[in-house]
């Protein structure tokens, strides 16, 4: 019996077998450890150890359809939110057009995810599942005038887009997603579109909802009311400090809806790949402002933290996001 013949045979029915073998590094470790000592008697144990690891379900990890349905729930939230834009007053025409473009993108994302999931897709929750005032279905939420006041509306839009960027980023390294390259690439191709939306909404807020030149606004620290197109630190708590802080905060790094060996830190994080980025660790950046080091990297969030944020905009009694909590 030849171990490599076994792999070759498995590959015929499971083309992903090499990808399932955890990491090639660990195989190398196995192999260099056993080396010439690998006797015929020991081989089954060795093979068993390798495949137990390859096909075992990581405790609490989400299957790929679970992740896709979670994305679909978020896209429904965004789609129904942008459908509410029609009563806004005081938007420049370029800004009104931009919201229409984003609305089209979010509706397209819903259609795409539904088509990808097929029969596994969740039922359409309907517009009535959401309360974008943040009042959980009762009057008096913190975003009460969002339908008519563009400042409130854009504050919500920024919050949803930034949350979406963090959600896709945090879910991409989940093992079931990485194992399906088609799904992974599609998720990445939605992730960057959400980031483009976030950037543009932030530009609109920076220049003002009635500006005909939204790219020409100047950002003002702490970037809550006049944000940069990217997240700077934690943006002073986001568009509505005290309410939106969690969107820029840290997540959970263990349990369901997290990726193995990934730590979900707050947006002001400067620790990347084991190196704390600063003007000291990067000499070419010694004259850069301290904020640049966290701005250069967005941070992801785990499923549960995203669900907690999204659940603020679902009516009481609807379990669209609470199923993840």
């Amino acid at each position: 019996m030849n171990f490599f013949d076994i792999l070759s045979e498995i590959e015929k029915v499971d083309p992903e077998v090499y990808g399932r073998l955890d990491s090639r590094r660990s195989i190398f470790k196995h192999m260099s450890g056993v080396g010439q000592k690998l006797t015929a008697a020991a081989l089954p144990l060795f093979v068993g150890a390798v495949f137990n690891k390859a096909y075992a379900q990581t405790p609490g990890s989400l299957a790929v359809n679970d992740v896709l349905n979670f994305a679909l729930r978020l896209e429904y939230l965004e789609m129904y939110f942008y459908q509410q834009r029609t009563a806004l007053t005081g938007l420049s025409s370029v800004n009104a057009n931009a919201l229409s473009l984003i609305a089209t993108d979010e509706a397209n994302h819903v259609k795409f995810l539904r088509a990808t999931l097929g029969a596994a897709a969740i039922a359409d929750p309907g517009a009535a599942a959401f309360d974008f005032t943040g009042g959980k279905g009762a009057a008096g939420g913190p975003f009460g005038d969002y339908r008519t006041n563009p400042a409130t509306y854009l504050a919500l839009a920024q919050s949803f887009e930034d949350t979406g960027v963090r959600a896709y980023k945090g879910a991409a390294p989940i093992s079931s997603v990485m194992a399906n390259k088609t799904v992974l690439t599609a998720a990445l191709n939605i992730h960057s579109v959400e980031a483009r939306h976030a950037s543009h909404i932030r530009s609109m807020r920076r220049a003002g909802a009635n500006s005909a030149t939204p790219s020409q606004g100047v950002a003002v620290a702490p970037y809550s009311a006049a944000p940069k197109s990217w997240v700077s630190g934690t943006d002073g708590g986001g568009a509505v400090p005290g309410t939106t802080n969690a969107i820029y905060g840290a997540g959970n790094s263990s349990g369901a809806g997290t990726a193995a060996n990934v730590t979900y830190l707050a947006e002001d994080n400067t620790l990347q790949g084991g190196v704390t980025l600063s003007g000291t660790t990067i000499p070419a950046a010694s004259s850069f402002p301290a904020t640049a080091f966290s701005e250069a990297f967005d941070e992801g969030l785990d499923v549960k933290t995203v669900a907690t944020i999204a659940n603020l905009f679902v009516v009481t009694g609807n379990n669209l996001f609470s199923v993840y909590l």
Binding site: R24, R25, L38, H197, G217, I282
Partner: protein, 243 residues
């Protein structure tokens, strides 16, 4: 016009022949291993990287390290571009306050990305590719139109490149890092496109808005065909080991 990329001291190239964990395709590795069962040390010695196995080209390599070097190459290009933008006459003479604020941040971010990758590749026990030498058409840095058109090309290319290469990454932490950077690149791309033409942040040339509204990602071979037009002979990229 040719310009040596401004960068910190280069890592010594003495460890070019150091064995890597993931330099050759898995399938061919296992074939190797099958033929030399028991001779694991020999197999590992065969897994050495070679950054320059194609004459005159800079080979990014294979596996996760290949993707990291591919990203490092693109970040070198962007960092060099914005370094030069800030010395050019458009930036120094005619750019608005908003444009300067944006271009300053893009310069900071791309230099940080570049030097982060250099450090990360070294920390992974691998060898970063060399500092690349760039070339730009005459006058690139003197007009708003040419600076922003080139910035738009680079930022959109970077987003399409990261999205297209994600599938070749096998280590979750590396995929996560790539995700942290690509969304910042997408934020850059959106505002640069808006500076070129207000409201063009999801143009139909880069997002399939008539269909699924997905970003149109690009394979490494397609990306380097464009990137290489901005790289001098001897600095052009080969990505034949990816994918």
């Amino acid at each position: 016009m040719s310009h040596k990329i401004l960068s910190g001291p280069q890592a010594p190239e003495a460890n070019l022949d150091q064995p890597l964990y993931t330099p050759i395709k898995r399938r061919s590795f296992f074939m190797y291993a099958g033929a030399t069962a028991g001779a694991t040390a020999l197999v590992l010695a065969g897994c050495k990287d070679d950054n320059n196995n194609m004459p005159g080209m800079v080979d990014v390599g294979t596996g996760d390290v290949g993707v990291l070097n591919y990203a490092y190459a693109l970040e070198q290009l962007e960092a060099d571009f914005y370094t030069q933008v800030r010395m050019g006459s458009y930036y120094t003479s005619t750019a608005t306050a908003a444009e300067k604020q944006i271009l300053d941040d893009l310069y900071y971010h791309e230099v940080i990305h570049r030097d982060f990758f250099k450090a990360a590749i070294t920390a992974a026990g691998a060898t970063p590719i060399k500092a690349l030498t760039t070339v730009y058409p005459a006058g690139t840095f003197s007009s708003k139109a040419s600076v922003l058109a080139t910035a738009k090309a680079f930022e959109d290319l970077g987003v399409a490149a990261y999205n297209g290469a994600g599938q070749y990454i096998t280590t979750p932490q590396y995929l996560y890092i790539a995700g942290k950077i690509v969304s910042v690149e997408a934020r850059h791309a959106a505002i640069i496109r808006d500076l070129v033409k207000e409201g063009d942040f999801v143009g139909s040339d880069i997002v399939d808005i008539a269909g699924n509204s997905l970003e149109m990602s690009k394979a490494p071979s397609v990306v380097v065909a464009t990137a290489n037009t901005f790289l001098a002979d001897g600095s052009k990229l080969s990505v034949s080991g990816l994918g």
